[in-house]
């Protein structure tokens, strides 16, 4: 077992790029979107696509209290409508709804890493497990389909609190639900600023790099795969 876990009681996990990754390579430009709009994007510069993505995210970020998947889908209808307008894609209402539905409900958009299920199961025998994730309500379904939801005691989703990591309210919520002290917990995430937020609260950070080159200067314990936690 990884040395840093030895005196810990709780492990918190991020989801995206920690437990799973997007099938299309992008969390929002899912395969369905690329299928419908891919040819129309062909003539548009990277810069304009990037700008449109950022602008459309504004709405999602400013309206991030989302109770259920119906509200989630409504949010993504808004998002893809914005993208369509900003990029002059002329997506029809039906096309926008189809993409929003797919984004919300199609779990083929999310591919679990191969080491997740077995590692989570092993860890659950020794630690209490929790999630701290910037996500929407559909993430519960992702965890169920990965076969791991049952191993988590508590879930902290940004859409339930209305803020994103590294806002301290995310970590406070997780610690409160778990009923543990920060020093009894580790948090595993692929984003350095999220880990810095956890570290400020007294939670021990672990950086998971998956396909990225290790961020050697981060100063955190770094793993490439979850399996390293139990080997």
């Amino acid at each position: 077992m990884l040395e840093v876990l030895r005196d810990k009681k709780v492990i918190f996990f991020d989801i995206g790029y920690t437990l799973d990754y997007p099938a299309s390579g992008d969390w929002f430009f899912v395969n369905k979107f690329n299928e419908i709009a891919g040819n129309r994007l062909c003539d548009i510069s990277s810069e304009r696509i990037i700008e449109a993505g950022k602008k459309a995210m504004d709405y999602l970020e400013k309206n991030h209290l989302v109770k259920n998947e119906e509200e989630e889908m409504a949010q993504f209808i808004h998002y893809y409508s914005d993208i369509s307008k900003l990029l002059n894609l002329n997506l029809s209402v039906q096309e926008i709804e189809a993409v929003a539905y797919d984004k919300t409900y199609n779990m083929d958009n999310y591919i679990p890493y191969s080491d997740v299920k077995d590692t989570i199961e092993i860890l659950s025998k020794t630690f209490k497990l929790g999630i701290i994730s910037d996500t929407w309500p559909g993430a519960t379904r992702q965890l169920k389909l990965m076969g791991i939801e049952v191993f988590f005691s508590f879930l902290t989703f940004s859409c339930d609190i209305g803020v994103f990591k590294p806002d301290e309210r995310m970590y406070i919520d997780a610690l409160k639900k778990m009923g543990c002290k920060p020093e009894d917990a580790v948090f595993i995430d692929d984003v350095v600023i999220n880990l810095e937020g956890a570290a400020k609260m007294g939670i021990t950070p672990i950086l998971i790099t998956r396909e990225n080159a290790p961020k050697a200067k981060a100063g955190f314990v770094t793993i490439k795969t979850l399996e390293e936690l139990v080997k």
Partner: protein, 222 residues
């Protein structure tokens, strides 16, 4: 074994995501007009800017004059900040881009660049640390042709003096570039290193093409 590598630039060798943006929103804020008004001309002229028939300076002047905001100082300031943002992108490259290009050079592999770009991006590219690695450079705003027009690929291949079959093409997949490369019998590979780091690439993972997670993997093809 391949004899040449051709690369796309944006979201392949460099990314626009890792540096502070100076794009439509920022430009319109500095001008003091609604972004929608700014985009009426900016978006409309994107093709002309990509093909080189209009420059950044000309379009910004047009925007300023149409919105009764023109003065020389403001115009120059906008141009300066826009150019600076394009230059800054080269300071935040994936750490393995230059080692990869040097590795190709060490193997005497010819290196080409095919990029859809605006004139301010062309200048940033020509003045960048990467420019020295290219044997042939084909930029849309200089040639008046842009991807996915096959002619820009043909020009690059011709100037490299190789046949397409001897060539690997590496890009993030935007502008249907990988499809064109495949049609021409090059070996297309999708660059995924920025796709992981960043969101909102022009395309996502194209499963029909070989994906390369780290730039150094390119060297395995030579």
């Amino acid at each position: 074994m391949k004899k040449a590598a051709i690369f796309d630039m944006y979201e392949t060798l460099i990314t626009l995501w890792n540096s502070k943006p100076y794009m439509g929103r920022e430009l319109s804020e500095d001008i003091g007009i609604p972004e929608s008004k700014f985009r009426e001309i900016w978006d409309l002229t994107e093709d002309e800017r990509t093909l080189g028939s209009k420059t950044l300076e000309e379009v910004l002047e047009q925007v300023l004059r149409v919105n009764n905001r023109y003065n020389v100082e403001l115009h120059q300031n906008l141009v300066k900040k826009r150019i600076a943002s394009k230059v800054e992108a080269f300071e935040h490259m994936h750490p393995d881009i230059i080692p990869m290009l040097q590795g190709l050079k060490d193997k005497n592999i010819k290196i080409g660049l095919i990029t859809n770009c605006f004139n301010e991006e062309r200048d940033a590219i020509r003045n960048s640390i990467l420019f020295q690695y290219f044997d042939v450079v084909c930029m849309s705003c200089e040639l008046g042709i842009k991807k996915p027009d096959q002619r820009i690929f043909e020009l690059c291949i011709e100037q490299l003096e190789i046949s397409p079959e001897d060539c690997l093409y590496c890009g993030d997949g935007g502008s249907k570039e990988l499809e064109v490369a495949q049609r021409m019998n090059m070996l297309p590979v999708q660059a995924l290193w920025y796709l992981k780091e960043n969101s909102r690439q022009p395309v996502g993972r194209l499963s029909e093409f070989i994906g390369v997670q780290n730039p150094m993997e390119i060297l395995e093809y030579f």
